[in-house]
Amino acid sequence: MTRRGAAPVSWGTDAPRSGSALVVDHLTKRFGERVAYQDVSFEVGYGEVFGFLGPNGAGKTTMVRTLGTLLAPTSGSATVAGIALSAEAGPQIRARISIMPESPGLYLRLTVAENLECFAGLYELGDVGERVAAVLEAVNLTDRANDLCRTLSKGLRQRVALARALLNDPTVLFLDEPTSGLDPVATRDVHDLITALRDRGVTIFLTTHRLEEAERLCHRVAILNTSLLLIGRPDELRERLFTRAVQVRTRAPLADPRAVFEGLDHVEGWEQSASGTYELHVSDPDAAAPEVARALVAAGADVLSLVESRHSLEDVYLELVDEDVEVRRR
């Protein structure tokens, strides 16, 4: 299991910490004829933040619901927080995990604190008042504790839902598109909360179709489109899919770009992407950049910029999903 950073710190749960937090083995879920996801296998380590990416209808929510024992898989097996997934194990599994669903699902006629008290009872927590105060503090909502949920904005409701998911100190926390429909400020707040949880060593299974979110928060990501397309660290995926490149911009288009670029040792190929803008394929940008700069100066070009162009996870994602769509069309 590849994992960044120090060993995860446990916070509270007595669940076994050896092995994997999630083991998914050839899992398939069908609704009648419709396949929600098919033959999906992966593992998530304790303390890991695992991003589950995919377009609409890819099967993300269905996967979360399956691992949360709400839906029975059609075939395959899984282990959640150390317990084999089965109908009988439902209550034990549900005690160790929590899910923040796509929509917050708060009791709107109850206050924030009353909502949380209800769920503290459902988890049979001892010191309800203390626990509720702690999770409210964790999501910065202490001052809204006595507000009716109906009066809260979407972003605040999302935070209450997150607080609710934290009540039972979950071994695995499932977040199903935690920032969907939030404005940039509210999104940043949720990201900060997730980062804080990550730093505390909480295992998080995060579904999203926001690529920058996955890139920022996740140790590893899986890209799903009914079946699993790819899995790995975000930077790994980028490298696996794209050759590295250097982008050059000059004030005026080069008179003879071929003469400038083609003799260079570290440049494997080039193309003009716009007037005065060139993409150079390189194996090692650190070696190529100075060489390119010298050649440009020698050719008398006015260089505006010379940067390593980074493919974002979004490029990886679009590339993969497009490819997948093409394959299916054939």
Binding site: L71, P101, G105
Partner: protein, 254 residues
């Protein structure tokens, strides 16, 4: 996992808090009982004591029947909403992903409908008896306490409520629409009331042994009713709207 009264209590308290702030529930719990107590009183005071004692008895039976509509209709309206309503609001999924078992969920929902119903129904019956005692003709009062009227009232109030509650929850767990669930639940709550009505009108001759037999029958249905309801309560179906493949008849998780 063992049955947890803590979890039952959590849902129960949540429901009561929700009722207090729900205009529809407040209306159901106040307007409906008010209407029927008024109708009962009108019946009571319109009674002519000159009629034969059998007629008098029928009339009293009829007026008290109105009072039994309360423990039938109020819990129907409440429980019909209980599952499908939460599902529509999106609040069911968060509850179902806690360790709560379906038995705990159902018992909590049932108690949350049963408790206010019983309090309201018995309180109104108390009002009815005191009003009769104070203002009605002595012959009418005597007729009320004669025969099995009071017994029927005391016995059948919780039993009818129990039936209405299980029917309401079962229908709610299988519905996709609150309104349809409510209409269906009201209809489904009526059969036992009809039997009581037949008895009140002396179409089936009312007697203490008969009343007790009927009550015992209802009691058995009420006690085992929750098992039948537990059988139709299916997490997978409630979340996805359908039964898991290859599991038709079996249940996907408790």
């Amino acid at each position: 996992m063992t049955f947890s009264w803590t979890r039952v209590g959590a849902i129960f308290r949540k429901e009561l808090r929700d009722y207090r702030r729900n205009r529809f529930v407040i209306f159901t719990m106040s307007a409906l009982p008010l209407l029927f107590i008024v109708m009962t009183m009108v019946q009571l005071f319109a009674l002519k004591t000159s009629v034969s004692s059998a007629r008098l008895n029928d009339r009293i039976g009829l007026s008290m029947l109105y009072l039994l509509i309360i423990p039938t209709m109020v819990p129907s309206a409440l429980t019909a909403y209980s599952v499908v309503g939460e599902r529509e609001q999106g609040t069911l999924e968060p509850v179902l992903i806690t360790p709560i078992s379906r038995e705990e969920f159902l018992v909590a929902k049932a108690l949350a409908a049963f408790t206010p119903t019983i309090i309201i129904a018995y309180a109104l019956f108390g009002v009815f008896l005191s009003a009769a005692e104070l203002f009605a003709h002595p012959a009418v009062v005597a007729a009320i306490f004669e025969r099995s009227h009071v017994l029927i009232q005391l016995l059948f109030t919780p039993l009818l409520a129990g039936w209405a509650i299980w029917m309401g929850i079962a229908i709610s767990a299988r519905s996709t629409d609150v309104r349809a669930a409510q209409q269906l639940a009201i209809v489904a709550s009526l059969p036992p009331l009809a039997v009581v009505a037949l008895m009140s009108f002396n179409i089936i001759p009312a007697s203490v042994p008969l009343a007790i037999t009927l009550a015992a029958g209802l009691l058995v249905l009420d006690i085992y009713g929750w098992r039948a309801v537990a059988a139709v309560f299916d997490r997978e179906r409630l979340i996805s709207g359908r039964v898991a493949d290859g599991r038709r008849g079996a249940r996907a998780g408790r």
